[in-house]
Chain length 197, copies 2
């Protein structure tokens, strides 16, 4: 396989990139973006090796504890649980939230073999048991699996005397939190309510 063919195939690791798009990317880089291509290659290699997960919140981090968890300026009594790093970033960008996060890196999906262990819920339980957290904001998506996960998390919170809350209705039904517009997300975040039993 020629180097050009290899490059086209390699681009297909990216999400939503089929054969035709991969080909356009390869040609574009070779025609007009060789410097950018060099940068991408270097940063990508470094990122894949060096970016791991924060030991406290499971978000992506280059350091053992991420900048948010290590910050002295965050409210440690509020913990916002999200499905993914993208969701964490969306909330951090759209709202004025100043508490901490916990990133599940997924949501409960027994059929796919994703249970409490895969989402790090034992570590989360240990953290809730430590007593520092007063409110847990459950910011999982408004999908069926997101709701299932939310109910599981609410029970876990109550077991440890922590008050669970959920983002206000207003998220589009079935919507992935990551793609919600800023205004809707900010409003829903602000009007979160304690979860009914």
């Amino acid at each position: 396989m020629s180097l050009l063919e290899q490059l086209i195939e390699a681009f297909r690791v990216l999400p939503g990139v089929g054969r035709k798009t991969a080909q356009r990317m390869a040609y574009h880089v070779l025609e007009r973006g060789r410097d950018g291509g060099r940068d991408l290659s270097r940063v990508l290699a470094e990122a894949v090796e060096r970016i791991g997960h924060c030991s406290q919140c499971r978000d992506f981090s280059e350091t053992e504890v991420c900048a948010v968890c290590a910050s002295g300026g965050r409210d440690r009594q509020v913990l916002c649980v999200v499905e993914s790093p993208a969701d964490r970033l969306a909330i951090e960008t759209a709202t004025g939230y100043r508490g901490l996060y916990y990133v599940l890196q997924g949501r409960l999906s027994p059929l796919d073999g994703i249970g409490p262990r895969e989402l790090g819920l034992e570590a989360l339980a240990t953290r809730l048991a430590a007593g520092e957290v007063g409110e847990m904001i459950v910011a999982t998506s408004a999908t069926v699996e997101g709701e299932t996960t939310a109910h599981y998390l609410a029970q876990l919170a109550r077991q440890h005397g922590v008050r669970p809350s959920r983002l206000a209705q207003g998220l589009p039904l079935g919507g992935e939190l990551e793609y919600v517009d800023r205004g809707t997300l900010s409003h829903a975040f602000g009007s979160r309510a304690e979860m009914p039993r």
Copy 2:
């Protein structure tokens, strides 16, 4: 800037990739595609350094002369002139063409400073003058600049006693050749006609 931020920015060198898509790409590679990310980094670095242009047809090539130009199995009396490597690939894939190619790497656009020199038309003229080529298929796009380029190329061909032909009408007006479906392209290629004076 964190390594993750650097990675997101680096992905934006790719065509059509804005901030949001770049972010999805970075997260996807870190979550599910680290091996693929390593491959992409390695192949990209190698491709950017090693892929140059064929000295005969100006298409991308790792070697001084590309595989098509070096092949003993092609008809050297027919030369197909295309705007880009993507167009060359589209013709090679969709049609049964077995002649040679010449890749302009652009089209005449005086306002953008792209003239005959930038498209390598001096080297093309030298080649036509050598007498081996009998027919030159002008496969530039059906855009205004593509038509201008086609007429310029037809004159050049006739000056050297070479018969210019143009892909049959049937290409959608204003359409980029690269995005035409296989059937249309193959039909238009097959019913090419000599260009009127």
